[in-house]
């Protein structure tokens, strides 16, 4: 699936390695949380770009101690109505000061992109037919925001009071 970062399609640094499949010699890999937990020592020792993919029900707090060694965390949307990842992304940025990539994977819509960016997602595994110009359009639909979030945009209240 095409990957969007910084508003453009980019090559994916990671190859997803399903359960039971051997790792390639080198290059970035993405693994499930289960695999990360069972092969943690090996994976961390290898020093290659490492990404962990979490299911919608996984609280990323379990990765808290290893965040410095994880280059990307993929948060899954099993169906687009399942909004848990909005909180997980925000916790990663806000609570754990995670600086790596937070990638949206699974089923999500154009209409959610602006919210995703606001809570800390910065990579988007979009549908094959996604038109890249739509990305900027999605982020531009609403000029103002009411809530403080991890994107540190000035809220309407900040603007009202010139903060």
């Amino acid at each position: 699936m095409p990957l969007i970062k910084n508003g453009a399609f980019v090559a994916d640094r990671f190859i997803f390695i399903p359960e039971g499949q051997a790792f390639p010699e080198d290059g970035g890999v993405m693994v499930t949380l289960e695999r990360f937990q069972s092969e943690r020592e090996t994976l961390l020792a290898h020093h290659r770009p490492l990404a962990v993919r979490l299911a919608a029900g996984d609280n990323p707090e379990v990765l808290k101690d290893d965040l410095g060694a994880i280059a990307a965390i993929a948060l899954e949307f099993p169906v687009y109505k399942d909004g848990r990842a909005f909180s997980w992304a925000r916790m990663l940025r806000d609570r754990f000061a995670y600086q790596g990539e937070i990638r949206a994977v699974g089923h999500f819509l154009y209409d959610q992109l602006a919210f995703m960016v606001r809570v800390g997602f910065d990579a988007f595994d979009v549908r094959q037919d996604f038109r890249i110009e739509e990305f900027a359009r999605a982020l531009g639909e609403m000029t103002y925001v009411y809530q403080p979030s991890v994107d540190r945009r000035k809220t309407v209240i900040d603007i009202r009071w010139d903060k």
């Binding site: 109505k81 399942d82 909004g83 909180s87 819509l109 919210f115 609403m142 309407v156 209240i157």
Partner: protein, 557 residues
Amino acid sequence: MYRYDEFDAKMVRERAEQFRYQVERRIKGELTEDEFKPLRLKNGLYLQLHSYMLRIAVPYGTLAARQMRQLAFIARRYDRGYGHFTTRTNMQLHWPRLKDVPDILHHLADVEMHCIQTSGNCVRNVTADQFAGAAADELEDPRPICEIFRQWSSFHPEFNYLPRKFKIAVSATPHDRAAVKWHDIGIEIIKNDAGEIGYRVFVGGGMGRTPYVAKLIGAFVTKPDILSYIEAILRVYNEYGRRDNIHKARVKILVHQLGADEFRRQVEAEFVEIKKKGTLQIAPEELQRIEAYFAPPAFEDLPEESPELDAAVKADPDFADWVKVSLTRHRAPGYAITTISLKPIGMTTGDISSDQMDGVAQIMDDFGYEEVRVTHEQNLVLPHVRKKDLPALYARLKALDLATANAGLITDIICCPGLDYCDLANARSIPISMAIQKRFSDLKRQHDLGEIKIKMSGCINACGHHHAGHIGILGVDKKGVEFYQIQLGGSGAEDASVGEIMGPGFGKDEIVDAVERVVETYVKLREPGERLLDTYRRVGMAPFKNMVYQEQLHAAY
């Protein structure tokens, strides 16, 4: 009342265009119906039995005259010349076309209105006491904090895909008129021992399949902290609320499964973290800015008693009946809070025609400081009326067919649209409520029966609040035939309680008789001063049940 600044105005404008693009993509087929449905719901658009239905937000139930006129216009131009006020104090239009909705949104934006988050799994329209800013026993006007909630919840990036819908209500008086304990979050504005005003926060109330009265979670949350506290509740819910079963997805189930103590512990832990950031603390200058919009009008210096009113009461017994039930004590001398019943006998509960809307708007201009409130009981309220204007006001209402003297009485029924309109309904509710109204139309009898709250829903989702009815009626479907269950003993007030199911249901030709037998049982058993609810609480279900079913047995033979 609150007025949009350039930012609020731009938000609703852009929302209209955002929705236009969603509609375009749906019609072109770029969005499937499954994808589009949650998007249109977030904008209050349902597909019902006959047509689409658009739910327009009336934040905390407050409407200005120009907004009422615009609703009248929209209903005339895009609908069938009427609208329907709901238990969430919103207005529903039953006949709009999908392709017209973006234009309707712009007409709403013209008068600072919108449909944002009136449905969908997000924070819904916040409701408040309909007597806010006028009630004699109020600690402070609850609407400024409601407006803060409205802005905070609108397009909240983290909480727009919750497990299920989320409803907040605020009350600031000891007598709860906003049914706060029936909400996902119910807030009571209180004063602590130090004399400081803050919030008592209840969580996990709700109707539907599993009715619960909300549990006390935050005993006293300070004013600047309240958004942080609510954000903490929403985060715990978003992370851990159930998503595997739609009937178990409301926060009430999470609170029930964790227990109030554990839920509170998780909320408090989250609250501490959010507070550390500090970005959600409410700035006093912003609160003051919003409060200024809700400053009461400059009341005239009037004597408490009005000779004009007293004379009219003596001269016109119909007016006297209306005065008896329609007025509530106002904080300013010489003023009255005036309820306009939207329950004329034999008419659809909560419906109002465009002509009536225009008429009410004129009344708002002439007698009501251009303001009206929508109540969760599907009535309207003029919050500030000079007592001496009441006879003239009554004459105007009468001309509009809006002078029914039944507010708070047995014919003041809460009723959802039911199977006459609703795709989710199992049975009709409106015709039953009309039939009950006709049976009890005698005003003397109604006054003798006193406060009886009948609340009726056409399905288990309980939009008609049947769990909170002194007499609750639930429509069910038995093999394609409509049946009706009776519940007794529910309350939506400060003494909130869940009604108890009386027994097997009744057919549509039996239900009115059954209600009448419940009422007769009350009349037989009541002690002086007791309402039906009080008698039920004293004697329990058995006498009611015996009376109702025994007689049904006889009738069957």
